[in-house]
Symmetry: C2
Subunit: 147 residues, 2 copies
Amino acid sequence: MTEILTDEHYMRQALNEAQIAFEKKEVPIGAVIVCQNRIIARAHNLTETLNDVTAHAEMQAITAAANFLGGKYLTNCTLYVTLEPCPMCAGGLLWSQIPKVVFGAKDEKKGYSLFSPNILHNKTSIISGILEEECAFLLKEFFRQKR
Amino acid sequence: MTEILTDEHYMRQALNEAQIAFEKKEVPIGAVIVCQNRIIARAHNLTETLNDVTAHAEMQAITAAANFLGGKYLTNCTLYVTLEPCPMCAGGLLWSQIPKVVFGAKDEKKGYSLFSPNILHNKTSIISGILEEECAFLLKEFFRQKR
C-alpha cells in the first residue's frame, strides 16, 4: 500500500510535467526519474519545440538522470511516465539498465508491449495503470482541442 | 548498379565516422543521413564520451538532420549506418518517417529485426550488407582489443 501511494506521488509529478507540455501545445506526456526517493530528472515531451522526434519525455529524462548521476547507467532508479513508452523509449530504457518502469495510461497503438520479444529486459519491474484516468484524460483533451 | 555504388559511397562515409568512434575508444558505429545526394548529418556513437546511453550514432544523426532541415521529419532522406539499428534507433527512425535505411553489418543479438511486428514502417526500404565485412571488422577489432 505504501508503495502504491509512493508510485502515485511520483506519477503526479510526471503528470505535472505532462501538464507543462500541454500548455506548450506539445502532446502531453511527462516523466520523472527517481533515485533513492529523490527526483533526479524531470522532463516532458518537446518534439515540436525542439523540432526533434527523439525528444520524448523518457529520452530526455534518461539523459538528464545520467548527467545528474555522472554515469550512464540508471541501475538504482525508477522511471515514472504518464503514457506507456514507445519502442524507441523502451529501447533507451533497456540500455540504461533501469530496474523499474511505472506508467499511467496504456498506449494501445504504439506501446512497446505490442512487440515481442520484450524490448525491455525481462527482469525490469513494470507497473502500469497508476493515475491512468488522469494521464489518459490529458491526452484525450489535447487531441480533442486539436480537432 | 549505380545505386549500389552510391550506397557504398555513403556507407564509406558512415565507416569513416565509425573509425572516429574507434579512435575515441567508443564502440565503433557511424552513421550519415543523405538528402538529395548531399550528406546533411554525420555522427558516431558517443555513449562513453557523453555518458549517455541514448547517444547512438543514428539518434544523433536524426537530431542533426532535423536541425539542418528545420523540420523534424526526414521524409526525403536515407540513413546509412554501419551496424543494424537497435530497437531504440529503429523506433526513432520510425518517428522520423525516413523512407530508406541502409546498414552494413547485421546485429544478431540486438538488431531491431529480431522483433515483431516490424519496429520500422513496413514501407521503409531496407538495404543491408553494404560494406558488411569492413563494418563488422571494425567492431570485432574493437572488442578484440578490449579483451
